[in-house]
Symmetry: C2
């Protein structure tokens, strides 16, 4: 009997009415003969409410105690969903993270899953029960509750699907799949029927909010077929239709042989660029500049070091826009005088645009087509970075939407069929 | 180092400000060199909110799943209180019921505590930590969360105090102790400095809302000195003053040798009387009348069977007023014709008044003094029931307050010193 893991986000669990809808959808799968494990998030707003209470007590809440509190949101959800299934005449049982148990390390508020014991869950499934498991949480070796951090329920669901060798992990959410780009920017954006794990990873790290990046990594490591699909459809739509809806993150690259070279255009408005000018071009200079920035817990993304002229060079990198002021402080206080830099300049009005696709590996000319397209639109490229399956450029933020639309068209994304 | 268990109710934990006050009070005890374990309730209103959500899903919530949900209220409380203590620079750690563990049976929503493992708590106390334990909850042998039912946090606190052989269990609440009677009825009502376990048990079962009756039983069985005191005082009042405040439930009867015969006057407005008239006086008739009532889960309190006349008798008993209509239905449908009773009459305008005191055992004349007092006020006695340490009478409810005041005065309760 095939097993499916369903994951429902906070919006889908946002009220008792919506929870009843989730139960109807889950019951439909069970009625069709599938084993089903459900991993729900907390009701929308609940985790924020709990963290708010904690912050009223302690501006920087103690991580262990914060996890004690924050984990209750999912505990309420699983009990309510289990009852909603019982009310439909189904056999159902809910488990917290520690009851499964889902073992994690002790990094409270950002714990990592180490193992999942499937014995109890298998026993219940084999007895015909639907099993509801709290997302976002686990238990460490000392019996402390630990949470996986924001969005951790996606990771829980994929990890449970891996442990149980599920047919698919279905991530029900308020979008109906992964698109070639943001439909709010490009009205011709098209939903992808499939996307490879690596493409999804790039898209997630490039700003797509569809899936938490750690869950994509987990899906990749354990080769869990994961589908992103809508929780806003009628819960009783035909099962075959639902099974083929959304976007499947797949692990079979050969199925992509005939398909488009590029899967999508990702973008991120939240960028800032910093340039350290007149840096002596000596070994170790990159570390001397970026070390203090990393020490301040600021994540650096793109990095360029110019060709040096007369023993001096310019060093440019990007940081999240919210970290710009802090980054400039760090450079002023700990770097500038120390390395004998000339001056430091910055720009917070920049955005990153990326083309992503596994097909890029076997096709040449993607970069040149991208640069030509931007050039034809009169868009200046400030920085470039590449990986095997993506090319990212930093541009003036005022051109961002134009760039996305132009690239979407240039790579024929509105037409291509998968 | 003496150990104290503190219990704080939902009102005391009602907001983050109040939780900070609780933390200040607890820290004061710890500063004075005591080991402290704290058992808080859920924030006021929270348990009702959770049960309300459950009932939106399922009119009769599944007990296991309801406990999954309802237990989260205390889990939030312990995390917040632990943080409030950490914010004061104290070492503190919180534990849910399953983390201690507090083992219970599997009677979800009304579970009974079976054992408490003190190893983890002792280790933390010895390391100088304040330990916060969730009230109201435990875990059964199969790892399911089970709650103790409404007011169960009192029972948790007393049970933890018993397991740890605490010096005293301090029940902080919104009244400042146990009174000779309700001060809203008799303005001269006086706070008792001590009360015996048995008196407290009678008072709890006679309608005093100060302590949950199961917690009093627990205190009695394990001889846990338990003090009821106010959580509304300044949290930083002198420790010696606080230690002697409230009412101590004691287990040393000899300290009572010199004290008043009667400790207090209890009363309960919530009574209804039912009389089955013209019942054939045969063996087994009491069972034939009360069996169906008990089967309907209705608790019967006082019972009288009159002297029979010509083979017929009258049978009278009391039930909680809210169960009156249901009781009459049961009697009409299942009893009346079956036993050949003449008719059934009832009265919902009756109240019970009781005098309570361990001194009664060694003093005669308490009953006659009680009856004479009521007679002098022109109050007719409808029913009488007695135990070793209490005498209860059922009277017309319109005389209840008059009866309480007259008895309070007749037994000199406003003057007596303990």
């Amino acid at each position: 009997m095939a097993l499916y893991v369903h994951k429902y986000g906070g919006t889908s669990m946002g009220s008792t009415e919506r929870i009843k809808n989730v139960a109807m959808r889950v019951a439909k799968w069970h009625d069709a003969g599938y084993q089903v494990v459900v991993v729900p998030s907390a009701m929308s707003g609940e985790t924020n409410r709990l963290i708010g209470l904690a912050k009223e007590i302690m501006a920087q809440p103690d991580p262990r105690e914060l996890d004690m509190i924050a984990s209750t949101g999912e505990q309420v959800s699983i009990g309510l969903l289990s009852m909603a299934l019982l009310a439909l005449g189904k056999q159902a049982v809910s488990y917290t993270g520690w009851q499964v148990p889902i073992k994690t390390d002790s990094a409270f508020t950002k714990a990592r899953i180490q193992s999942i014991d499937d014995a109890k869950v298998r026993r219940d499934l084999d007895a015909g029960k639907i099993v509801i498991i709290a997302g976002f949480q686990g238990v460490d070796d000392n019996g402390n509750i630990a949470t996986l951090g924001r969005g951790g329920s996606d990771t829980s669901a994929v990890a449970v699907a891996a442990a149980l060798k599920a047919q698919e992990c279905l991530i029900y959410t308020d979008v109906d799949g992964v698109y070639t780009t943001d439909p709010r920017v490009v009205s011709e954006a098209r939903r992808l029927k499939t996307v490879t794990f690596e493409e999804m990873l790039e898209m997630a790290s490039l700003g797509s909010k569809v899936l938490q990046i750690r869950s994509v990594e987990f899906a990749g490591n354990y080769r869990v077929p994961t589908r992103v699909l809508s929780s806003l459809t009628d819960p009783l739509i035909a099962l075959e239709e639902e099974k083929n809806s959304g976007t499947l993150i797949s692990f079979e690259e050969d199925t992509h042989m005939e398909q488009a070279v590029i899967s999508g255009i990702a973008f991120n408005r939240d960028e800032a660029k910093i340039t350290v000018l007149g840096v002596p071009d000596k070994p170790g200079i990159a570390y001397q500049i970026l070390g203090p920035v990393a020490d301040a817990n600021i994540e650096v993304d793109m990095i360029i070091q110019n060709q040096s002229v007369e023993g001096k060079t310019d060093f440019t990198f990007t940081v999240p826009r919210g970290e710009y002021a802090k980054s400039m402080d760090v450079l002023d206080q700990h770097v500038k005088a120390h390395i004998g830099a000339g001056s430091i300049s910055g720009d917070t009005k920049v955005s990153k645009v990326s083309v992503v696709g596994v097909g890029m590996r076997s096709h040449v000319g993607i970069a040149s087509k991208m640069f030509r397209t931007l050039s034809e639109e009169g868009i200046n490229i400030l920085m470039i970075s590449t990986s095997e399956i993506k090319i990212s450029v930093l541009i003036d933020e005022k051109y961002m939407e134009l760039a996305v639309r132009a690239l979407h068209k240039a790579f024929g994304l509105e037409n291509s069929e998968q």
